[in-house]
């Protein structure tokens, strides 16, 4: 006699995050990306304590050293074990700079990306959800799209540098300023995408259902809309991190970025372009660092998106 009752796989109840983690573990790319990200984060956080050379220490006699691997194919190259990744034209240690630069770049990248996501998602959700605000907010997006970034920065520097400087120190103040500027000039694409998705979501029946059980707009956005627009937000996040790191370097290029004794990957890359032929490693190292970070965030984002989507997770 066949068993007609409902056969249900009796999986032990587990926390939602454990599920996500389990799924994430199965995504090879995400694991690799996440691993690398953890590695690079740890490296820039704790590296400077292990490799304690001062990145700003100029040792003029030891300038223009090549990375030690160079000795493999060019025995005459100037290399030294004390500077495993070589030194720059002023004799500053490459490794120490890479670590210190990574700290700033990663911090700026993450902070600016988070800010971008925050503003973009907020504006997108609000525009999509409250019909009356849609028009004004979208025109606001147009406005921000057409604002020239350089004058904006100059205005911000003029108005806010001094107060920030006295409250957060030269680097801290500049950090806040840069993150804020990148944030407020790059949220627009996210907002557009999120708005589009929210408009579509709003027509879905579960939103109506939520309304019928007395869910207020705030909770509606928080519980029902946001979790369902995770996927485009993830894409924006990946692209946003790369964009923020690059924008930061462009800013120092224009002379509105960090003080010059404050290395960042972008700036190292920009500075080294002149000597690209002779010292390719000086562009390659920060370049690879940026690319790998972006790539790993991309893969991690892919994996997270899959993992966060319960429909895929179940399969």
């Amino acid at each position: 006699m066949t068993d007609l009752s409902n056969q249900t796989p009796l999986a032990p109840p587990r926390s939602q995050w454990l599920n996500v983690w389990d799924q994430l573990k199965k995504h090879k790319g995400a694991l690799l990306g996440g691993g690398f990200l953890v590695f690079i984060t740890l490296a820039v956080l704790f590296g400077p304590y292990i490799w304690s050379l001062d990145p700003q220490k100029i040792d003029y006699r030891a300038r223009d050293f090549r990375p030690i691997y160079h000795a493999l194919f060019d025995a005459d190259a100037k290399t030294a074990w004390g500077n495993p990744l070589g030194t720059d034209q002023l004799g500053r240690d490459g490794l120490a700079n890479l670590l210190a630069g990574g700290r700033t770049s990663m911090a700026v990248g993450w902070a600016a990306m988070l800010l971008t996501l925050f503003i973009g998602t907020m504006v997108g959700v609000v525009a999509g959800f409250f019909k009356r605000l849609d028009g004004p907010l979208m025109r606001l997006t147009d406005l921000f799209l057409s604002l020239p970034i350089l004058p904006l920065l100059l205005v911000a520097v003029t108005l806010f540098r001094q107060p920030l400087h006295s409250n957060f120190g030269p680097e801290g103040g500049m950090f806040i300023l840069i993150v804020a500027i990148i944030g407020i000039t790059s949220w627009m694409p996210t907002a557009r995408i999120v708005r589009g998705d929210v408009l579509a979501l709003k027509e879905r029946e579960f939103v109506l259902a939520a309304r019928s059980i007395g869910t207020r707009p705030g909770a509606m956005i928080w519980r029902h809309l946001l979790p369902n627009v995770i996927s485009p937000i993830m894409v924006s996040a990946t692209l946003g991190l790369a964009a923020a790191i690059i924008t930061e370097s462009a800013l120092s290029f224009l002379g509105v970025g960090f003080p010059s004794d404050f290395p960042t990957w972008g700036k190292m890359l920009a500075d080294a372009v002149q000597r690209m032929e002779e010292f390719p490693e000086r562009v390659m190292l920060p370049g690879i660092a940026i690319s790998l970070t972006v790539l790993s965030v991309n893969y991690l984002g892919d994996g997270l998106r899959d993992a966060l989507d319960p429909r895929i997770r179940g399969r």
Binding site: M1, L4, A11, I213, T215, N228, P310, R311
Partner: protein, 606 residues
């Protein structure tokens, strides 16, 4: 030649590679389909019906499946039998559409939204029959005539979204029939449609089969449809074939337990004749079921007066209103405490809108909704928030009405959170109790909607509606999307709750048999108006309005010996509910033919 089956499925096994390892979609299935014969494949959701049919088309591969074992013998138009299970995709390309046509489960999504109907219809013809554009169009037009679409010329240039569900399904059928295939596979072609359109489509397929001699493999879980259509029936259960036989045999002498359970769960029109009050269904395998009529009270809890809801059609410069959809027009009824009032009618007649307007999920134009003596339509947002605590809604599509990203316990807990009814610790208990109440195991609490079967999902929706201890539940097609067996369980649950808690239901459905089973009162809607309203027994046994009568006729009967012939059916296209701004509809006037039984006397558009 004639006794050679067109298709033979032998020992089919299909596996899907998923992230958690292989999943078996079909374990071991064998059956034959003979020329000119209709074979119905029935079984619960997930039993492998669609997968079997997709395997025959060799389309499972595109969904990540793999035919692990078995033979799929197919008798080609020319060149004898071949085994499709190892045919190359090039060969399959020739067979698909030309010799085997397929109608898919979801008419709403089966058509490409960006191409015109004409273009999609002619595509297959041009590939297989080498027609030029003009010939193909002529043939497509002919097909549209055959499937009886109104105004076929105009349809050719329309896009799918411009057609109603029934029309779309007919286009899909026309497409499958285009090259006059030897075998037509129809995968639940009518499940999502309402009775009248369903009847229409069934009649159409029957006629086509008769005229062209095509063999049909018809997949469904609706036993009434099976009774109307099948020559032979194959019953599937969890990936296996459990029973096979001529239709009469299956209905009259089922062998397998599952088949028996299935048949027992089918509500049959007329079953309730002579009973004044609804009562739960007798289910197989459920011990100690108490079957008692539910009387309810005579105390009015909801009174709807002259409710009118119109949607604006915007256009022109500056987006002014140019016309209005008269979705609900001058509707009045009363619902008693502890009783069920059902609204029935065709798709698009305004049933859902009525339900939503009562909850003010859409803003009605005028009228009164008196709930517990307060007019819902005059409340401000805060008061409305309060009233919604006592009125809850179960939505048409259980899947769509659950947030796919939220675990179930959260969704059930949400209304209580919204009203701050329970502290965090209490909340878990109450959710658990609700799960018990709707007979869901507690360890489902951490699951997501997609991990549930349709019936289970609907129970979650019910649990959510119950969370606030409401007095009134508006159940919008709460069971239409479910398997019969699950449907029966859910209906029983609802009735049980009604008996225990004294709930009132506004039950919206197009399934007459179900409505007969659960209602105290029935309102028949047509084009926004109630054309007939009265006690269930009176309306069903003595339908007065012409529309009610034709509706009754369209209901398929789950008895293979009572087949309807196409001639009995008399379909009228539904007029458009869109009118200009200056259109002033006249007020509805009713005649009380029997005590409590009202019939619309003014024009309803029918």
């Amino acid at each position: 030649m004639l006794d050679q089956p067109i298709a033979q499925i032998k020992g089919l096994r299909v596996e899907f590679q998923t992230k958690d390892g292989p999943v078996v979609g079909v374990k071991d299935v064998s059956f034959d389909i003979n020329p000119g014969e209709t074979v119905c494949v029935v079984g619960e959701s997930g039993s492998g019906k669609s997968v079997s049919s997709l395997s025959l088309m060799r389309l499972v591969e595109f969904g990540g499946g793999e035919i692990a074992a078995g033979e799929l013998m197919f008798d080609r138009r020319e060149g004898g039998q071949i085994d499709l299970s190892n045919a190359g995709q090039d060969l399959m390309k020739e067979i698909r559409g030309d010799e085997i046509g397929m109608i898919f489960q979801e008419p709403m999504t089966a058509l490409n939204p960006v191409f015109t109907v004409g273009r999609q219809l002619t595509e297959g013809l041009r590939v297989h029959k080498n027609m030029n554009k003009k010939q193909a169009e002529e043939r497509a037009l002919e097909l549209l005539h055959q499937v009886r679409i109104p105004e076929p010329d105009r349809r050719m240039t329309q896009y799918p979204h411009e057609l109603s569900g029934g029309m779309r399904q007919r286009v899909v059928i026309a497409m499958a029939m285009a090259c006059e295939p030897r075998l037509l596979i129809a995968d639940e072609p009518t499940t999502a449609l309402d009775v009248t359109i369903q009847a229409e489509i069934l009649a159409l397929m029957d006629r086509l089969k008769r005229e062209t001699g095509t063999a049909v493999m018809f997949i469904t879980h609706d036993m009434a449809v099976v009774a109307q259509m099948a020559d032979r029936v194959v019953v599937m259960f969890r990936g296996n074939k459990v029973e096979e036989g001529p239709v009469e045999q299956i209905f009259e002498n089922p062998q397998h337990d599952y088949t028996k359970a299935l048949l027992a769960a089918v509500p049959k029109l007329g079953e309730m004749t002579g009973k004044a009050y609804p009562e739960p269904m007798k289910l197989m395998g459920v011990e100690g079921q108490k079957i008692e009529p539910i009387k309810g009270t005579e105390e009015v809890i909801l009174s709807v007066e002259n409710l009118t809801t119109r949607f604006d059609v915007k256009g022109g410069f500056l987006r002014r209103n140019v016309a209005q959809v008269h979705a609900v027009e001058d509707v009045s009824f009363k619902l008693n405490k502890g009783q069920t009032l059902s609204l029935v009618g065709e798709s698009g007649c305004g049933k859902s809108t009525t339900g939503r307007a009562i909850l003010r999920l859409v803003e009605p134009q005028s009228g009164k909704v008196l709930f517990d003596d307060c007019n819902v339509l005059e409340l401000n947002q805060n008061q409305l928030h309060k009233v919604r605590q006592d009125m809850q809604m179960i939505f048409q599509d259980p899947f769509a009405s659950l947030n796919p990203q939220m675990i179930l316990s959260e969704q059930v807990a949400e209304p209580m959170r919204n009203y701050g009814l329970a502290s965090a610790s209490e909340l878990q208990d109450r959710v658990a109790n609700l799960f018990d109440r709707v007979q869901l195991p507690r360890d489902f609490m951490r699951r997501y909607p997609h991990e549930m079967s349709g019936g289970q999902r609907q129970r979650i929706a019910i649990a959510r509606a119950l969370a606030l201890n409401p007095k009134l539940i508006i159940a919008d097609e709460a069971v239409s999307a479910l398997d019969v067996s699950v449907q029966a369980q859910v209906l029983n649950l609802m009735m049980e709750l009604q008996a225990d808690l004294g709930l009132s239901f506004l039950f919206i459905s197009h399934d007459m048999a179900v409505v007969e089973r659960v209602s105290h009162q029935v309102g028949v809607m047509y084009l926004g108006r109630i054309v007939e309203l009265g006690p269930r027994a009176r309306v069903f046994e003595n339908p007065q309005h012409a529309y009610t009568q034709s509706l009754m006729k369209a209901v398929p009967i789950a008895d293979p010996r009572q087949r309807k012939s196409e001639r009995d059916l008399n379909f009228k296209p539904i007029p458009s509910p869109i009118h200009g701004l200056d259109y002033k509809p006249e007020p509805s006037q009713y005649l009380e033919v029997e005590p409590g039984h009202f019939v619309l006397t003014t024009d309803s558009g029918y």
